[in-house]
């Protein structure tokens, strides 16, 4: 779509939205009321999309937040419980913000204990909260605590109980008939909805949105790229909930009466239906899904009932003649969920999954990808500036007596290792020697059972992976772990996450400082991609890259975190000789030009021996040798570990 046509489309949409209620009145359709209700559910679905679509956390109890929003408004802005806020012209406009804040707080309260829980368990926990909230609202309307005949509490009403809350104060604007006319409600919801949409778009395109998606794609990799999973998920819960706070409070004020029955499990599932049908993670999709389901629910089912009945009468089938399809609505929602997941899991508006290129051995050989040479002048200038701070002197990383056991098996046993500044240290050993475990302990994925890890004079033990990244230690993984459904550029931008500062207000309002930061971040990411030779692929999905490119992208992402120490886990595995050669050059360049230290696990002995300053050899978790490449090659225990006893050292 060209820019002009795009602008024309938007204009038409805006005009349509503005004119619709007046057109409706002129034609006497009287649909504004129903459309406004539908828009409330769309707004709810958009809030749920933050949790489910962006952060990838399946929330089966989202109606609980809707309930909290509605009850926050209902209880604060109603005479039922004697709220002092009721009856003022500003009551509604104040309460709507309180409701959003209360919902957000509840989002954090529900989110906090569940963060360590796996995805499907988290879904069940949210479902549990979704069940508890209506039960609590019902029962807290009439509390009597009677202990041994002593009435501690007698018929206390906190929530209105089964009867709900009625009436709820309406919004007040001078001269606007909120009492009698649905049109002002339509515009109120439209304004709130468009405002929310605007905020969501900006959040999605900010460092926060990228962090959500990174968590969704691969939580461990995100953690090791500097994204704090705990605060990121909590933020998703809180923001997702706050939008339902707005929706809930408008719902309460519009309906004038709320009862606990309006927030049952079915509502959560209907909202989930909207998100999944349209395409989780796509704003346009969620709006489409929400509209389709609302129309289906309110129009299609009732209208087709007439049709089917007429058909039944015409054909003389009594079963059809008496059918009421509106009773089938939940059946159809269930069917919809099943069909969408089976036939189009990305949703109606989701990006079509491109068929993955099969990356097997033959493919690599046939195509023989040629990596671009690593050039000194291609090193991004900003990386150079950063490295100037690094002063020589004390060792960068100092590991002493590191130990880690797995149920009796000693994976890492009293290992010492020293990484000086601007050095390349090789870590080799047979399979199962504990090299990757060593990496995992240093980067905080696994806690050590003993020993110390000191980086620039401060201990890393007990820090979460993302905090270690922030200190300046970045890593890659043996089995590449990119964020597959994000673009190449986005992958690198996630790497910059911990060096960026935009907060929620910053991301939404985009003051000049945030705008400049984002522009700079993108420039840096592009420079890094150019450096590793992926400049022309920044818009591709990471999963569609060939193998060697994925390896280089992972290194670019690690470099984006501005590390002082880079931990590479078998970076040349699966690469052809040309790619290996280029990557080796690149590693050497990083050390030479940027004074970056590299700790390298590598099975390709030629690479290790050529670029390492010193090498540490592990076998069965124990350090059996340490020295220069030449020393290691002659070391009898190393030869024994690699070749077994009884062999003479072979000439290399």
């Amino acid at each position: 779509m060209t820019g002009a046509r795009h602008a024309a489309g938007i204009t038409a949409l805006v005009v349509g939205l503005l004119v619709y209620p007046f057109l409706d009145r002129a034609l006497g359709f009287q649909t504004v009321h129903a459309v406004s209700d539908g828009m409330i559910y769309v707004l709810l679905a958009l809030g749920l999309n933050i949790v489910v679509g962006y952060a990838g956390l399946l929330d089966l109890g989202y109606a609980a937040f809707f309930a909290i929003g509605a009850y926050a408004m209902g209880l604060l802005n109603s005479p039922v419980l004697g709220s002092p806020l009721y009856g003022h012209p500003w009551s509604f406009w104040l309460c709507i913000w309180i409701a959003a804040a209360v919902s957000a707080l509840l989002g954090v309260a529900i989110g906090a204990p569940t963060l360590r829980v796996r995805g499907d368990y988290l879904a069940i926990i949210t479902l549990g909260f979704g069940e508890i909230i209506p039960v609590a609202i019902r029962n807290l309307g009439d509390i009597t605590i009677d202990i041994g005949g002593w009435r501690l509490v007698d018929r206390l009403n906190l929530t209105g109980g089964e009867n709900g809350v009625n009436p709820v104060g309406r919004p007040y604007l001078p001269g606007v008939p909120f009492e009698t006319d649905p049109t002002p409600w339509y515009f109120l919801i439209l304004v709130v909805g468009l405002g929310s949409l605007w905020a969501m778009t900006r959040l999605r395109d900010s460092r926060l949105g990228r962090a959500w998606m990174a968590i969704r794609e691969d939580e461990t990799a995100a953690d090791c790229t500097g994204v704090n999973p705990v605060s990121t998920k909590l933020l998703a819960f809180a923001l997702g909930a706050s939008f339902s706070g707005f929706a809930g409070s408008i719902y309460a004020a519009k309906l004038q009466a709320i009862t606990p029955g309006a927030f049952e499990f079915q509502v959560s599932i209907m909202l989930l239906c909207m998100v999944v049908l349209g395409g989780a993670g796509s704003l346009r999709g969620v709006i489409l899904g929400g509209m389709l389901i609302t129309v289906f629910d309110r129009v299609v089912l009732s209208q087709s009932t007439f049709l089917v009945r007429a058909l039944g009468r015409a054909t003389g089938l009594p079963l059809l003649a008496t059918i009421d399809l509106t009773l089938w609505r939940w059946f159809f929602f269930g069917l919809g969920l099943v069909l969408v997941m089976l036939l189009r899991p990305q949703g109606l508006a989701g990006r079509r999954e491109r068929v993955l290129v099969v990356r097997d051995e033959d493919d690599t050989l046939a195509a023989e990808p040629v990596a671009p040479p690593a050039r000194t002048e291609a090193i991004p200038a900003w990386l150079r500036e950063r490295s100037a701070e690094a002063a020589a002197g004390t060792p960068l990383l100092e590991v002493r007596g590191l130990a880690r056991r797995f149920e009796g098996i000693v994976a890492v046993n009293e290992v010492d290792l020293l990484v000086p500044r601007a050095a390349i240290i090789g870590l080799i050993g047979p399979n199962g020697a504990g090299k990757t475990t060593f990496f995992n302990v240093v980067t905080g994925l696994i806690r050590p059972d003993g020993g110390s890890i000191t980086f620039e004079g401060a201990s890393l033990v007990g820090l979460r992976p993302n905090a270690i990244v922030a200190r300046g230690v970045a890593r890659t993984f043996q089995s590449i772990r990119l964020f597959p459904h994000m673009t190449v550029l986005e992958n690198v931008l996630v790497g910059e996450h911990c060096r960026l500062a935009a907060t929620v207000p910053g991301a939404v309002l985009r003051p000049p400082s945030v705008r400049a930061e984002e522009v700079r971040a993108r420039e840096r990411a592009r420079a890094l991609l150019a450096f590793v030779g992926l400049a022309d692929k920044d818009g591709d999905d990471a999963r569609n890259l060939p193998y060697g490119d994925q390896r280089r992208l992972e290194i670019a992402r690690a470099l984006a975190t501005e590390p002082k120490l880079l931990l590479l886990d078998e970076p040349t595995a699966g690469m052809n000789p040309n790619e290996t050669e280029r990557l080796t050059e690149l590693i050497g360049l990083l050390r030479r030009e940027l004074a970056l230290s590299v700790l390298l696990i590598e099975h390709d002995m030629e690479v290790v021996m050529r670029i390492s300053d010193r090498i540490t050899v592990l076998d069965y978790g124990t350090r059996i040798a340490e020295g220069t490449p030449a020393e290691i090659q002659r070391h009898p225990r190393v030869i024994e570990a690699y070749l077994g006893t009884g062999y003479e050292p072979a000439a290399r």
Partner: protein, 312 residues
């Protein structure tokens, strides 16, 4: 009633409730153990078991309390027929809604499971109507303590309570034998531990999953039949609630562990019965769900389950 009689009575209630939960929990735990899916529709298979068993009774002409001969001929027959029906249903659900998603992200089949659950519930709603249905009193109810032993006790223990135990315990023992002593059981345990390796060892993984759904569905059907005969009432929405309680039981016991599911079922049975008595029936759901949340957060491997090594 003395306070201790109340306690004993509620404990008996807890055992009977718990037995039904345990049977349903078996299906959750087996399916989760093997394909790591929370089979959300499982509770509804239980609910349909109740409805289907009623149909079988009606087809066999049993509409009132069974006599001695019928008890040893027709009752086992209805057990078998009901279990076969729900087993087939459960397998069909897997084939249609879960199997195509075996290689999808974990949340995809969970979403279809919720969809299937909604479909089953609403089919039952349309089949039987929104009002609770009366399940005929097909099993003779005789009070044991007063009627047989002439004891003067307020505790109400009937032949129906005995039926629940007499039906549940053999099913549990049979299941335990099946899992530990048969080829299929061995295949199930191997597949649960490592699907790829099991496949490499020549185990037909898909068929093993099919057997798992078959057995789980059969147990849910038995639970539905027992529930119907014991409480003489059935609701279209009962599967959702019973399913969540049974899932809580499975998680509490340690998901993947058969013994855990049995233990968890009993614990949830006791807790819900006691909560009904001592707190208030209207809070019971909130209490059960709180337990579920606490267990999932603080002890996700449950009472008996092994700590599942998270694949990083």
């Amino acid at each position: 009633m003395n306070w201790w009689e109340v306690l004993v009575q509620q404990t008996i209630n807890g055992i009977t409730r718990g037995s039904v939960f345990a049977l349903i929990a078996m299906g959750y735990t087996m399916v989760y153990g093997i394909i790591e899916l929370i089979n959300f529709a499982h509770g509804d298979v239980f609910m349909l078991g109740l409805f289907v068993s009623l149909t079988w009774f009606t087809l066999l002409g049993v509409t009132k309390t069974m006599t001695g001969l019928q008890l040893i001929t027709l009752l086992p027959l209805v057990f078998v027929l009901t279990m076969l029906t729900t087993a087939a249903l459960n397998v069909a659900i897997d084939r249609v809604a879960y199997r195509p998603l075996r290689r999808s992200p974990r949340l995809a089949p969970l979403i279809t499971a919720i969809g299937v659950s909604f479909m089953l519930e609403n089919l039952a709603l349309l089949w039987k109507g929104p009002a609770p249905i009366a399940y005929p009193d097909v099993f003779p109810s005789v009070e044991i303590l007063g009627g047989w032993f002439g004891l003067d006790s307020a505790i109400f223990l009937t032949t129906k309570d005995v039926l629940v135990i007499a039906a549940t315990v053999p099913l549990m023992i049979g299941l335990h034998y099946f899992v530990t002593h048969t080829r299929w059981g061995k295949a199930m345990r191997a597949t649960a531990q490592d699907r790829e390796t099991a496949q490499a060892m020549g185990i037909n993984v898909e068929r093993t999953i099919l057997v798992t759904f078959l057995v789980g569905g059969a147990l849910a059907g038995a639970a539905g039949l027992i529930q119907g005969m014991y409480y003489n009432i059935g609701m279209w929405w009962m599967g959702y609630q019973a399913g969540l309680r049974a899932f809580t039981a499975a998680v509490l016991g340690g998901i993947g562990s058969m013994g855990g599911a049995a233990l968890g079922g009993l614990v949830i049975g006791f807790l819900s019965a006691w909560s009904d008595q001592y707190i208030s029936a209207r809070w019971t759901n909130a209490i059960v769900f709180s337990i579920l949340i606490l267990v999932l957060v603080f002890r996700p491997h449950g009472l008996l389950g092994e700590r599942a090594a998270d694949k990083t």
